[in-house]
């Protein structure tokens, strides 16, 4: 029993990342009808926003301390981050410690801008081109984006630690009446799950309860009619693209402490999140979220020892296996709408 709970918990944080990326992909696909292969790159850019903010915050002034010497006998150099000298040591250290959560606020405007530029500069010209062309051009864009990041940040993963308050593990089992230390779960993953739930909830609420969201939903259902009603739907869809970029970006920011960001992390996630989108059903937002969590949890269940003993290698292929079965038995995915991408 405790094993089952551990696996569900393990599946949740990976599932959250899948769900967030798939949600953004589906938003873009549902509104603009564009298959965006560069979405993984947006996730990666988000993670590097966290890295960048951390670097900015730790920019330091170097002073020499003549009373101490380093191992070479030269005067010891002491680095004091500017934030610490401006705000005092305690607050400054606190800000640096919390750089990853703070990076969300840093990332949102950047991702908005990136999304807006991408839509205006490139994607806009591909609405009328076939899906294959869209896939190819965004695939090219993903390569370009990741090479740019590689140029500035190098090819090695960069550690971006979570705030100290969240570094330990949480003894989840005690809450449920198990013995202590049976179900340990890192705090940050719990935070990530809560954060993902919050973002997903916010996106749904935005679409469901605001006038803007209503118009966007109407546009998803029937773009032409909304246009005939005199609403400039393209402008709103551009904004939705920026929003989707934001969702991918903040997902990346918060993921940075879980897996140290490197330039190809986007590509690694992209393939899986496409599988997630297709399993959930192209154009279905709840489907994307549901499939994200489902596949995340299935993946961690499949890596349980007795599963691996029963069917060797199942943990490696489960996601693809499920995807193949679902695609062949349910042509529209789990929750796909009728008429979307049916050929």
């Amino acid at each position: 029993m405790d094993q089952v709970i551990v696996q569900i918990l393990n599946g949740l944080d990976k599932g959250s990342a899948y769900a967030l990326i798939a949600l953004g992909l589906t938003l873009i696909f549902g509104t603009l009808g564009v298959v965006n292969f560069a979405h993984g790159a947006l996730f990666m850019i988000g993670a590097f926003c966290a890295v960048t903010l951390q670097r900015i915050l730790t920019l330091s002034s170097v002073t020499e301390d003549p009373t101490r010497t380093d191992f070479l006998g030269n005067p010891m150099k002491i680095e004091t981050p500017y934030v610490e000298s401006w705000f005092g040591e305690a607050i400054g250290a606190g800000i640096i410690d919390w750089s990853v959560p703070l990076a969300i606020f840093f990332a949102i405007p950047i991702m908005m801008l990136v999304g807006y530029l991408m839509e205006h500069g490139l994607i806009r010209h591909f609405y009328k081109r076939p899906h294959a062309d869209q896939i190819l051009v965004t695939f090219g864009l993903a390569i370009v984006l990741q090479e740019i990041v590689k140029y500035f940040y190098g090819a090695n993963p960069i550690q971006t630690p979570a705030p100290d308050a969240f570094t330990g593990s949480f003894d989840f089992g005690v809450l449920l009446g198990f013995d202590p230390l049976t179900i340990m779960y890192p705090y940050w993953r719990l935070v990530y799950f809560a954060f993902a739930a919050l973002v997903i909830g916010a996106v749904f609420a935005f679409l469901q309860f605001t006038t803007f969201g209503m118009v966007v939903r109407a546009g998803m259902a029937d773009r032409e009619t909304v246009g005939l009603l005199g609403i400039d739907i393209d402008k709103r869809f551009t904004l939705m693209f920026a929003l989707a970029a934001c969702v991918a970006g903040v997902a990346g920011v918060m993921y940075a402490p879980i897996v140290a960001p490197n330039y190809h992390m986007g590509m690694d996630f992209l393939v899986l999140s496409f599988v997630v989108v297709v399993v959930g059903g192209m154009g279905s937002l709840p489907g994307a979220v549901f499939a994200g969590f489902l596949l995340g949890i299935l993946e961690s269940f499949a890596s349980m020892p007795f599963m691996v003993d029963a069917i060797p290698g199942i943990n490696q292929i489960i996601i693809y296996l499920v995807a193949i079965i679902i695609l062949l038995t349910r042509p529209r995915g789990l929750m796909g709408r009728k008429g979307v991408m049916e050929e």
Binding site: I135, V144, L327
Partner: protein, 398 residues
């Protein structure tokens, strides 16, 4: 000639001449000159040119003709590679049986994958093929280690004693074709130039010319016509009472066999294989090659393959010191600025150039580099005759 139209025969002849002369044509610079690093005429790279050419020709039969975008073609290449290396480990060091088995196994695997994947089309087809390829990769990497060697892959080792080869104990077997070793080459020196004629390269080149000839025949056959019909309008095909499935499956299997042939040749050249050959980025690479050169054209994919492999091996070697020597004639400050501007695009950053080039091709030249060539030629022709040639601008049927 050979059942080809005059134009196609000319194309085949051109390709034959180019591949046969490649060791000379690709080494235009004397060995000692500063430009020698642009020489691509060394066996290892030339072999890669033609092997990936074969791979791309095969991919193009599926994607270019039927429009089905497979994102998992590297799996067939991998299967072919494993089949060949096992033949060479167990049976004989002659490469022919190995390559034959590579094609057979790739075909069998392609029948299986194609039969299932072709139930869907569009992006679903892409995802299905991707899923199959990733599954093969993951399995080759982990569970199938006894067959695939897992992470380390398979090499020919001193302990391997193929049945039909008379090896001294401890001697490492080398791939050969009826006694002619693949690594054998003769070097011709002419003045400052040096040309390497390698046995392995010519074996690959023969295979590519043959593969190219087959591709021309397929493109011009009624079967190829059917495949084009699938691409342009599958529904209309159904309404005329034709079932598209057998045709698409045949195209899928044929292109899988081409991939198997490429995989087999790869092993025949370097006698080793690893699972990373099946990773999805390898499948993405062949897509890049085909699109870059021009999908649906005969020669385009080969050009694309050559271009990408050239960049991967030659452009990636340019480092900042070389750049500095090139621009040494400029004043110092300007020199640094120019080098700083170019440097991100060469050397380790060659992927960036590739990505930008690929995007530019998809945006401006959907027909690939060949379309670019056509446009330039048309522009010149128009200038000369002074009028538009309207015969070329056919209107589509719909």
């Amino acid at each position: 000639m050979l059942g080809l139209r005059k134009k196609d025969a000319g194309l085949l002849l051109l390709v034959t001449v180019l591949t046969v002369m490649a060791p000379v044509l690709l080494n235009p610079f004397p060995v000692d000159s500063a430009m020698a690093q642009f020489n691509a005429g060394y066996p290892d790279l030339m072999q890669r040119f033609v092997i990936f050419g074969i791979f791309a020709i095969g991919f193009n039969i599926l994607f270019g003709l039927t429009g089905y975008l497979s994102f998992g073609h590297a799996a067939f290449l991998g299967v072919g590679s494993y089949a060949t290396i096992w033949m060479m480990k167990l049976l004989t060091l002659n490469i022919l049986p190995g390559i034959f088995m590579a094609i057979v196994f790739a075909a069998l695997f392609a029948v299986m994958v194609g039969y299932i994947s072709l139930r869907r089309s569009g992006i679903y087809f892409s995802i299905l093929t991707l899923a199959f390829a990733q599954m093969s990769y993951a399995l080759a990497y982990s569970v199938l280690t006894p067959i695939t060697g897992g992470e380390t892959g398979l090499q020919i080792k001193p302990t391997d004693t193929p049945l039909l080869a008379n090896l001294e104990p401890g001697e490492i077997g080398r791939a050969s074709l009826f006694g002619l070793e693949m690594s054998q080459s003769s070097i011709i020196r002419m003045g400052g130039w040096e040309f390497t004629l390698n046995v392995g390269y010519y074996v690959c080149a023969m295979a590519m010319i043959l593969a190219f000839y087959m591709a021309i025949r397929i493109f011009r056959s009624p079967f190829g016509m059917m495949l084009r019909a699938v691409k342009s309008n599958q529904n209309r095909m159904y309404y005329t009472g034709l079932n598209a499935r057998p045709y698409t499956l045949a195209a899928f299997v044929i292109s899988g066999m081409y991939a198997g042939l490429a995989g087999g040749l790869m092993v025949a050249m370097d006698t080793q294989v690893g699972p990373e050959r099946m990773f999805w980025t390898a499948s993405g690479e062949v897509v890049l090659m085909t699109i870059l050169g021009g999908a649906g054209t005969l020669i385009g994919p080969v050009l694309g393959a050559g271009m990408i492999k050239y960049m991967e091996n030659i452009v990636s070697k340019i480092n900042d010191q070389i750049l500095h020597t090139w621009f040494a004639f400029l004043p110092d400050g300007l020199e640094d600025a120019v080098v700083a501007m170019i440097y991100p695009f060469v050397g380790k950053g060659w992927h960036l150039t590739l990505g930008l080039m690929f995007m530019a091709v998809v945006i401006f030249l959907p027909g690939g580099l060949l379309e670019g060539g056509d446009r330039i030629r048309n522009a010149f022709r128009r200038k000369r005759t002074g009028k538009e040639d309207t015969a070329k601008q056919r209107t589509p049927a719909e």
